[in-house]
């Protein structure tokens, strides 16, 4: 029970980071969740081999990287557009930014709270509900371009807010 609890604790703490890595390569959110499930199962089965002195996130991403290559190899139509070399470059990048982004998460949480409701609603439609810009535009009786621009402005505002918060710390 103790080992399982420790595993679950680590998995839940790193779930979003692992999903972010998988989601950067597997863009379909349903498929990304499927891959994450498969990765989580491998992580659990191989948890004995995890060195607690290493980053759990890096270990998990390494396994996710191999799983994606395996799925890509098994099924030529598996929707990953990047070559193995590019996937390796993305994996390396995730390892490099790990320390920096761990500080950003808390800042992002606070910055999201500061957004006006209309911006939050737009982000919710795009990210939580996973709607495409065309669908959002239809719902909001707006144009696709206007949706892209609005999202771009919100992202820029979030980036600036995070930068300021991290500068104060």
């Amino acid at each position: 029970m103790g080992e399982r609890h420790e595993f679950l604790k680590l998995l839940l703490r790193h779930e979003t980071d692992i999903k972010a890595f998988i989601g950067s390569l597997v863009l379909d959110p349903h498929l990304r969740d499927d891959v994450f499930q498969e990765v989580a199962l491998v992580l659990w089965l191989q948890f004995d081999s995890y060195d607690p002195h290493r980053s759990f996130g890096a270990w998990a991403r390494g396994i996710a990287y191999r799983k994606i290559l395996e799925l890509r190899h098994q099924n030529a139509r598996f929707p990953v557009v990047f070559s193995p070399k590019t996937i390796q470059a993305v994996l390396d990048a995730y390892d490099r930014i790990e320390a920096a982004v761990s500080r950003k998460a808390e800042a992002l949480r606070e910055c999201l709270k500061e957004l006006p409701d209309s911006s939050r609603h737009l982000l919710t439609l795009r990210y939580e509900d996973g709607l495409a810009a065309e669908e959002i535009a239809r719902q909001k009786h707006s144009t696709v371009n206007a949706v892209y621009q609005a999202l771009s402005r919100i992202r820029a505002r979030l980036e600036e807010c995070i930068r300021q918060r991290l500068a104060v710390e």
């Binding site: 349903h30 990047f82 990048a93 999201l112 939580e128």
Partner: protein
């Protein structure tokens, strides 16, 4: 190196799935050549995922806070504050009575009155009603339809925000009923129709426990302390959960578990044997099968066409090129090009809701029946109305005869066969029951047999249902199918008329009409089956589910699942296979869209995976 703005544009287009192949290639080159570009890419994709997850958590928290405030107001009004006594004192605003009391204290002398009040307060405190013995464990949310709180052998209608105490239970009655049991730590139990949850227990330093006496639940359990797992019990099994998502179904014949996330421990009560069921596996505990977790079949996201705002009544032409679908709760039927998704025609001549749609076998005629007591025949190529037949009652079902020479129409108490070449030639059969929207029935594809769920079947959970088979040619009862546990919600004849699929609870019973016995029972933990469709060759069955955003495909010969089509809204409903069984038409619906009161619904055309 490309300028930063170009890199940002490429990254954003890629993540929004808008990048062209050339732009993807350009981005790949940059990511491989420049670590800075790769870092920017990782940072942007990381931001997207964290934004999604934080928003989801925060939106949940906001809902939770609004929910708690609503409870607080409700409890103040009823003088049943759920807070602890010390909190209650702090939370209660000063009343005018306490203001007058302070004035008297000043007037009469603080010492004497304070002593008297102290003694009085002590007496009142000792004599206070002991109504808060049972701790509040959870609250009810999203109450829909007929939902009751069970306590001390009685039941009372449940309300949104109502507190659930230790020892209480919840009962959900009726097809459209549902409720969510929400714990303070975020753990959620979604209960579907005809489900009874008994004996909630738990509290500080004790793990949560519930007993699923009957029905279906979907649990989303937040991480629990290692020594206090959540225990979900059924009469046959115990499921021990540390933090995961799962579906659990308990019926008279079996307990079924499907783990969506994490790992859970499943124990068979009869012999104490335990197995671990990881994500992507299912397990069944019944009297006949070994307790062995089985991997779920492969999942596919192979939608070809989605028609938003449509629901339930739809048909695909025999050549697979035209999809006819009725708008949600509407009188309008639209014809769509199944390849391009272009709407070809809108059929708007019915004056009330359309209840049934069918193509003729040769695909040259489309028939629509409606509550307006008419059947209209259309040219599906042009969308032109050819003729209208009138009836004395709402039309509930219709089918073309196997040679397309006649149309068989089912109205309230009659089945009428119309010769299409000579419409004045009509043969009527008066049925012994009067069908209405409340009946579940199916007409065989040759129009010769009607299957009806016995109208006397109880609507309560645990009901045993009976299906009556009526020979429409001889106008006599062919027989009955009894002993079906759970509410029968859908019937469907196989194309060759030899099998009847009876959807009851989480089970589809395949009844062999020739042999007069059960051919197979298809059971899966997808929850209540909402509808089923046979493939044209009768070898496969597609099932939709009330509480699952997926459609399941079954191999009828083996009784095993072949594939899961994912990506529906909250519930799915299988309607019909396309020609050669290569496509499938389904309906799906959701009532959980943020800020939406009405259901979202859609009719979807899927490309099916090869066998």
């Amino acid at each position: 190196m490309a300028p930063q703005s170009r890199l940002d544009e490429l990254i954003r287009k890629y993540l929004d799935r808008q990048a062209s192949p050339a732009e993807q290639a350009e981005l790949e080159r940059l990511l491989v050549e420049s670590p800075e570009a790769a870092d920017a890419f990782a940072d942007a994709s990381w931001m997207d995922q964290w934004t999604a997850d934080l928003l989801r958590d925060d939106n949940r928290l906001r809902t939770e806070l609004a929910f708690m405030e609503a409870i607080d107001r409700q409890c103040r009004a009823a003088d049943l504050h759920p807070l602890a006594p010390s909190d209650r004192h702090d939370a209660t605003p000063s009343s005018s009575r306490s203001g007058r009391m302070r004035l008297r204290l000043r007037q009469a002398g603080v010492g004497m009155v304070a002593a008297v009040l102290l003694a009085l307060g002590l007496c009142l405190w000792m004599l206070r009603p002991r109504t808060t013995a049972a701790p509040i464990l959870a609250h009810l949310d999203q109450v829909r339809g007929e939902v009751y709180v069970l306590a001390a052998g009685s039941r009372r209608p449940a309300q949104n925000g109502q507190a659930l105490c230790a020892g209480q239970g919840v009962q959900v009655v009726g097809e459209e009923s549902a409720v969510v049991v929400r714990y303070p730590d975020g753990t959620r139990l979604e209960l579907d129709a005809d489900t009874t949850l008994d004996e909630l227990s738990g509290g500080e330093a004790v793990g949560k426990k519930v007993v699923l006496a009957e029905g279906f639940l979907r649990a989303e359990v937040t991480p629990q302390p290692p020594d206090q797992p959540v225990v979900l019990a059924t009469p046959r099994a115990e499921v021990i959960v540390q933090g995961t998502r799962l579906k659990l179904c308990n019926e008279a014949s079996a307990t079924q578990l499907e783990t969506e996330k994490g790992v859970v421990q499943l124990t068979r009560k009869s012999d104490g044997r335990s197995v671990e069921v990881p994500a992507g596996f299912e397990a069944v505990i019944n009297d006949s099968e070994p307790l062995t977790p089985q991997p779920l079949p492969p999942r596919f996201h192979s939608r070809r066409l989605t028609l938003s705002g449509y629901w339930g009544v739809a048909a695909l032409s025999p050549d697979g090129r035209t999809l006819a679908a009725r708008r949600f709760k509407d009188r309008l039927v639209a014809l769509w090009d199944a390849a391009t998704g272009q709407q070809r025609a809108l059929l708007d001549r019915h004056t009330e809701r359309v209840t049934t749609i069918a193509f003729s076998r040769d695909g040259r005629t489309l028939a629509t029946g409606s509550l307006d007591q008419t059947v209209q025949l259309w040219d599906p190529a042009s969308g032109q109305l050819r003729t209208t037949f009138e009836y004395p009652a709402p039309v509930w079902a219709l089918t073309f005869s196997p040679d397309d020479q006649a149309l068989i129409v089912l109205t309230g108490q009659e089945v009428e066969t119309v010769a299409l070449a000579e419409p004045s030639t009509r043969r009527r059969t008066i049925l012994p029951i009067n069908l209405s929207a409340n009946n579940i029935f199916a007409l065989s594809t040759d129009g010769q047999t009607l299957a009806v769920v016995h109208p006397g079947a109880s609507a309560s959970p645990g009901a045993v249902s009976t299906v009556t088979l009526w020979d429409l040619t001889a106008n006599q009862c062919r027989g009955t199918i009894g002993g079906l546990t759970g509410r029968v919600c859908h019937l469907r004849f196989a194309p060759d008329g030899k099998l009847l699929a009876i959807c009851h609870g989480s089970t589809v019973t395949l009844w062999d009409l020739g042999a007069g016995q059960v051919r197979a029972a298809l059971r899966g933990p997808g929850g209540r089956v909402s509808g089923a469709a046979f493939s044209p060759d009768g070898t496969r069955l597609a099932t939709g589910h009330r509480q699952e955003a997926a459609v399941r495909l079954w191999d009828i010969a083996t009784g095993k699942q072949q594939a899961i089509l994912e990506g529906c809204m909250d519930r799915s409903y299988a309607i019909a296979f396309g020609p050669e069984g290569k496509t499938l038409v389904t309906s799906e619906a959701s009532n959980r869209a943020p800020g939406e009161q009405l259901w979202n619904s859609a009719v979807t055309l899927w490309d099916l995976p090869p066998r």
